[in-house]
Symmetry: none
Subunit: 415 residues, 2 copies
Amino acid sequence: MRAEIIAVGTEILLGEITNTTTPFVARELADLGIDVYYQSVIGDNAERLEAAIKLADSRSELIILTGGLGPTKDDLTKQTLAAHLNEKLVVDAPAMAYIEEFFARSKRPMTENNRLQAMLPANSTPLKNPVGMAVGALYQAPAHTYMLLPGPPSELEAMFIDSARPILVAKFKQASVLESRVLRFHGIGESALVTQLADLIDSQTNPTIAPYAKTNEVTLRLTAEATDQANAQQLLIELEAEVQARVGAYFYGYGEHNSLEQVVVQLLKQRNLTITAAESLTSGLFQSMIANVSGASTVFNGGFVTYSLAEKAHLLQIDAAQLHKYGVVSQETALAMARQAKQIMQTDIAISFTGVAGPDTLEGQPAGTVYIGIAYRDQAPIARKFSFSKSRNSVRQQSALMGFDLLYHLLVVDK
Amino acid sequence: MRAEIIAVGTEILLGEITNTTTPFVARELADLGIDVYYQSVIGDNAERLEAAIKLADSRSELIILTGGLGPTKDDLTKQTLAAHLNEKLVVDAPAMAYIEEFFARSKRPMTENNRLQAMLPANSTPLKNPVGMAVGALYQAPAHTYMLLPGPPSELEAMFIDSARPILVAKFKQASVLESRVLRFHGIGESALVTQLADLIDSQTNPTIAPYAKTNEVTLRLTAEATDQANAQQLLIELEAEVQARVGAYFYGYGEHNSLEQVVVQLLKQRNLTITAAESLTSGLFQSMIANVSGASTVFNGGFVTYSLAEKAHLLQIDAAQLHKYGVVSQETALAMARQAKQIMQTDIAISFTGVAGPDTLEGQPAGTVYIGIAYRDQAPIARKFSFSKSRNSVRQQSALMGFDLLYHLLVVDK
């Protein structure tokens, strides 16, 4: 079973966007035990795309085309595949209904091009797009399986996991059962994680272990193959126990679609705890991440963005003389911010962020110096210092995520 | 002049690392006016790599191979290319001296494999590696130019800029000059934008027009080719005038690396205006985006996250009876939030966000219903209603971005 991925898009060819969808699909296929032998990128050009599909026919059985399903003139992937297959383009009714409803609701004019996004080669199986308009397709020819997936990563990933993956599993994995489990880690880099698991990774056959570095976190996907689900699960349980024994200190949750903020909000809900925040360098990012989680309003009512020293004094009612004495980049200020935010908002927990996002230094402290304070129930507030690196916005993101990490460990320890 | 980039490495093929070197090389070549028609990824397999080089010979003149120059057993790019060219591998003396010195200095044992990193196909021009051991190479055959570059991005980029680029400029730089300009639009979808420019896009030859959909915005890249920079710029000026006449209402700025929040913060700085925000459904996202911009502290001191009705009353001192009367999803509440935030923070501008992020309805209003209020100087506050669609977090992001859009138009009109 040889698979090949063809990404279509002039903007990828010109290097204007980095192709992250091909690696995603490659990892997913590897996880299903399907070997990817070739990846290529072709511009928005029907002739060269047709040549690429012909070449793929000559050397691969599963051919995955990504991108070029959009509404513009240069989007021609499905037209080219349909012509190659000698099929007409036909309308997928559910996709068309979704598009029409979208334009009706947003009161924007719908063009003829938008209708094109609901079309696919005749005799295809449609692949629903859970987050966008372009429908995907799977087409089974005698010697080849073709798959059409959208270019935007969020659309492709959702479509692949929801629709494409189950079909591939059913098609190519019949004799045995595949079960996977994704473990999520924060606070450890990919290379450090891999080093601690080196012997397990080197000797993997079944289950397999696939580490992926995400932005500011790492996931491990464990995949087991067995004659039935129970046996596959048993293999996963044994491997996970070994993994947790080594790197469990950095583990925070399961699942491909999970996040530290989801896990923390869930814990807060379970414990009936309320939270607020006082944010300086993160400037609302932490609170925005809380609201990423649906139903956050049961634990979060609001909080403060105190970007300047003056507003730390004004909104949080902290003594200005004290702020000037210790500086905003200090443990004392982080403690005072958390204490005051908790007091004003009458919550169970308050978290504070103050520090230097950069690029410039502040109060003589280098960019990346961050204090995070936590006031928890009637315990004495605590504050920890961190030294993050990389860009201004990476420092801000790492800070907010570390806030959730500290809360996770606080809540897990204090049952 | 057709160029092709072949990245060699099983770890790229498996999706274990994201290929960032190919986009880098592609951008550099585009910048030199060299057209990249194909990109591909091949595993560490001599037979498939040889087939890929043969295919490249059939369709491209400049063939760039990246990766596989390392010291391990699976690194075989230059061996495969040398065999393809019928050349022996020979030692590059400066590279060998560097490697020997490195191992002498670090007192680590030097293996035979390490010597391989200093070798290149006979009759090549060596390309010095300023940050690593593997030497690169340029080989001129009668009909093809081959280039060998290392896989690690830091090595490849340094080698390309220091050594490869100057050679390519001397070899291929055409008599003409390429100039580009990126125009950024918000509030119009890609398909609607393209429809309004359809005749320009259909008839494009020089300058070219390339539309790209980004998250919640669209960019257009105009690229002109001429005998000199002034003529190329003149072509761009004429085309942009035509584009602006049609879709200028949605235009907000220039540049590949720009954003609506950057443009708005810049305008605020120029006008010496200060801003605050009171955020309900966006929950700090707008304020976090302000702080994305370095130097935001000159215009922004802080603000409010008032997620619950109670905190709109408490933190913003809005009459609770009025909030209950109109509901949080209302124009009146958006106006009151903006008015009170401006009053409390004593800023020139305050913006407010209140509405239904979803997925559930709120106060009988569907997910995506959002009111944005603006209090500006001594003008009467205004509030507008929007109906956004897609996911909860997309609604929140679209809301925050629309806030910057409203401010942009306010500031551009009120000079």
